[in-house]
Amino acid sequence: MKSKILEVGKSQYTLRDQFGLSITKLAKKNKKIIVLDADVAGGTGLHRFRKKFPKRFFQCGIAEQNMISLAGGLASLGFIPIVTTFSVFMLRGLEQARLSIAYNNSNVKLVASHPGLDVGPDGGSAQCLEDLAIFRSLPNFRVISPADPNEMDSAVKEIIKFKGPVYMRTGRSEIKKIFTKKYKFKIGKGKIIKKGEDLSIIACGVMVERALVASKKLEKEGIKARVVNMSSIKPIDKDLIIKCAKETKKFIIAEDHNKFGGLGSAVSEVISEFCPIKVKYISVQDEFGISGEPNELAEKFNLDYKAIIKLAKKLNLKK
C-alpha cells in the first residue's frame, strides 16, 4: 500500500534551513513575529529572515540570558518573539526561560538548532543531549521535535497559532525527507506512520527516519514493527501511547538525547501509570558526545537503525 503521508527520499533542506524558510514566509502575513538572535543566524537558518525583515530582526549579541528575558518583555507588548540559538546555549538562559517566560506563560518560542549528537564535528560540548528533559520540566512550556522539513513547515504554523511558550528543536545535519506536504503536525499529537503489530518504535527528530529504515529491514525477517512519530514530547499523546501499548505490547523509544528525562521518560510515564508493558530505549547512556560525523556518532553511540534492529530482535525473541 502506498502511504499518503510517507515519501522517503533526499531532502533539499536541513531542519534549520526549513525553519528559516517557513518562519520567513509566515512572517509576511503575521506582523507580530520578530526574531531575536545571539550571533548564530547563519547557523540557525534565520539569515533569510534577517534579510527580508531587518527591522524585525534583533541581534542580541552573544548574551543569551539578556536575550531570553528580553523576549518576555517583548511578548508582553503583543509581539511573538522567536528566540534562536543553538540548543546548548538555550540552557545558558534556562533560569531566564523559567521566570521571564514560563512563569508568565509568555508567548515566546525558543527555537533551537544543533540538538543531539546530530551536531557532529563540533564535539561533545556543543551536542546538547539534555534540552528535552530540561524544558519538559518547565510548567507551561510545550516541547517539540519535528522529524523532517515538511513536518517542520507544519510545526512552524502550529507553534505560532499556539499562544504560550514553546521549545522546539530544529536540526543541523542534512536529513532525508520523510513526509509529503499532506503531513500535519499538531501539538500534543503523535502519528502512526508505519503499520505493525509485533512492537512499536516511538521516535522523534532524526530518529524517525532511522526507525522507518529499521522497520523495513525487520519486515524482511518477519518482524512487523510499527513506527510512531512522537514529535510532540510535551504534551505527550497519551491516548496514542495507550493504544499502541495495547496493540503491540512492546515498545522501543528512540531519541537523540540522554536517557533521562526526554521522550523515553515522557512515554514511560504514561506506560507505567496506564498500561505497563516491556520497553527498551535507544538513547545516549548518560554521557557526553565526541567529535565525528553524525552517522559515525549514531553508530558509535548505538543510535543508528542497526541498533534499533538489534534491540527489536531481542524484544521479539521473548514473545
Binding site: 539578556n66 528580553l70 518583555g73 517583548l74 508582553s76 531566564q96 521566570l99 521571564s100
Partner: protein
C-alpha cells in the same frame, strides 16, 4: 513636613506593617527605595488601574523584586490594591506574593525574584515601544547587589547598542546587600565610570530628597542613550534602629516591640495600632 514626606512616612509604616503581619519580608531595601517609587507613581507615570490592560503606556518594573512590600504599599495608596491585600502579604492565596508576580497582579510590570531579569524584561519593553514608534517611557529599579549579576551588564550593552533613550534605570544604592556591605561582598566601584563607559547618561542624586528626585527626572535626556540614575539611599531609611544595618536586609520577623518603635518614629502608630 511636606505633604509628600507625610505620605512617604505613611507608606513606610504600611511597608513595615505588612512585613510584620507576614512574619517575613525585606524591610531595609523597601524603606530605602520608597521615596523614588512613590514619586514615580504619584507624579510621573500617571497610570490608572484600567491603563494596565493596554500596552501603550508608561511602565515601571521593580527588578529588585524582594522589595515588593514597597511597591504594594505605593500601589495601595494609588488604589491599585486593597488594604486587605496589603495585610495579606506573603500569605497563602494572596495576590501580594513574596516577589512581584504578573500571574496575580497585572500592574507590577514583571514577575521577579531572580535578580537581573527584570532589567532585561524592561529593556525588552523599551525596545518594543521604540519599534512600535510609541513615545512612552520604561522605568526600572535595580538594587546594588543586583548589579553583580552578569545579565545586568549584558542588558546595559544591549540598551546602549539599540539607543534606548526611553529606558530609565534607577539604582537604589543603599550600599548593603543580603549578607553585608557591597564592598565586602563584591566591590563594583567605581560604578559611575563603568556606566559611562557602557554608554549610559548617568546622574547621581540623593534618593531621599524630593527636589533631587524631581530634578533628575526633568534632566532625562533624549540623546539616544539609556538613562541611569544612581540614587544614593540609606538602607532601612526612616527607622533609626534599622538604618545602615545589613541585618535588616531581610527576610526578617519583626517583634511587636520593634514594629511599635518603628511606627512611633514614623508618626503612624496611633493610626495603625489596631491592625497589629
Amino acid at each position: 513636613m511636606s505633604k509628600f514626606d507625610q505620605d512617604v512616612n505613611y507608606i513606610r509604616a504600611l511597608i513595615l506593617l505588612s512585613i510584620f503581619k507576614a512574619k517575613s519580608g525585606h524591610p531595609g531595601g523597601s524603606l530605602s527605595s520608597v521615596d523614588f517609587l512613590y514619586f514615580l507613581f504619584d507624579k510621573v507615570l500617571k497610570l490608572k488601574k484600567k491603563d494596565f490592560k493596554n500596552w501603550n503606556r508608561n511602565y515601571f518594573i521593580l527588578s529588585k523584586g524582594h522589595c515588593a512590600p514597597a511597591l504594594y504599599a505605593v500601589g495601595f495608596i494609588k488604589k491599585f490594591l486593597s488594604f486587605n491585600s496589603l495585610l495579606n502579604l506573603r500569605k497563602i492565596d494572596s495576590n501580594t506574593q513574596g516577589h512581584t508576580d504578573l500571574r496575580k497582579l497585572n500592574w507590577v510590570g514583571a514577575s521577579t525574584g531572580s535578580l537581573g531579569q527584570g532589567l532585561s524584561y524592561a529593556t525588552g519593553i523599551a525596545l518594543g515601544l521604540k519599534s512600535k514608534k510609541v513615545n512612552k517611557k520604561v522605568f526600572v529599579m535595580v538594587g546594588d547587589g543586583e548589579i553583580q549579576e552578569g545579565q545586568v551588564w549584558e542588558s546595559l550593552m544591549f540598551s546602549a547598542h539599540y539607543k534606548l533613550d526611553n529606558l530609565i534605570i534607577i539604582l537604589d544604592y543603599n550600599k548593603i546587600q543580603s549578607d553585608d556591605f557591597n564592598k565586602n561582598i563584591m566591590n563594583f566601584e567605581p560604578l559611575k565610570d563603568k556606566l559611562i563607559s557602557f554608554g549610559m547618561n548617568v546622574q547621581e542624586i540623593d534618593g531621599h530628597n524630593f527636589n533631587q528626585i524631581k530634578n533628575c527626572l526633568l534632566r532625562i535626556k533624549k540623546n539616544k542613550k539609556p538613562n541611569f540614575i544612581i540614587s544614593h539611599t540609606i538602607k532601612g531609611k526612616g527607622v533609626t534602629f534599622m538604618e545602615n544595618k545589613p541585618q535588616w536586609h531581610g527576610s526578617v520577623k519583626l517583634t511587636f516591640e520593634q514594629i511599635k518603635e518603628a511606627l512611633i518614629e514614623l508618626n503612624n502608630f496611633e493610626k495603625l495600632r489596631k491592625y497589629l
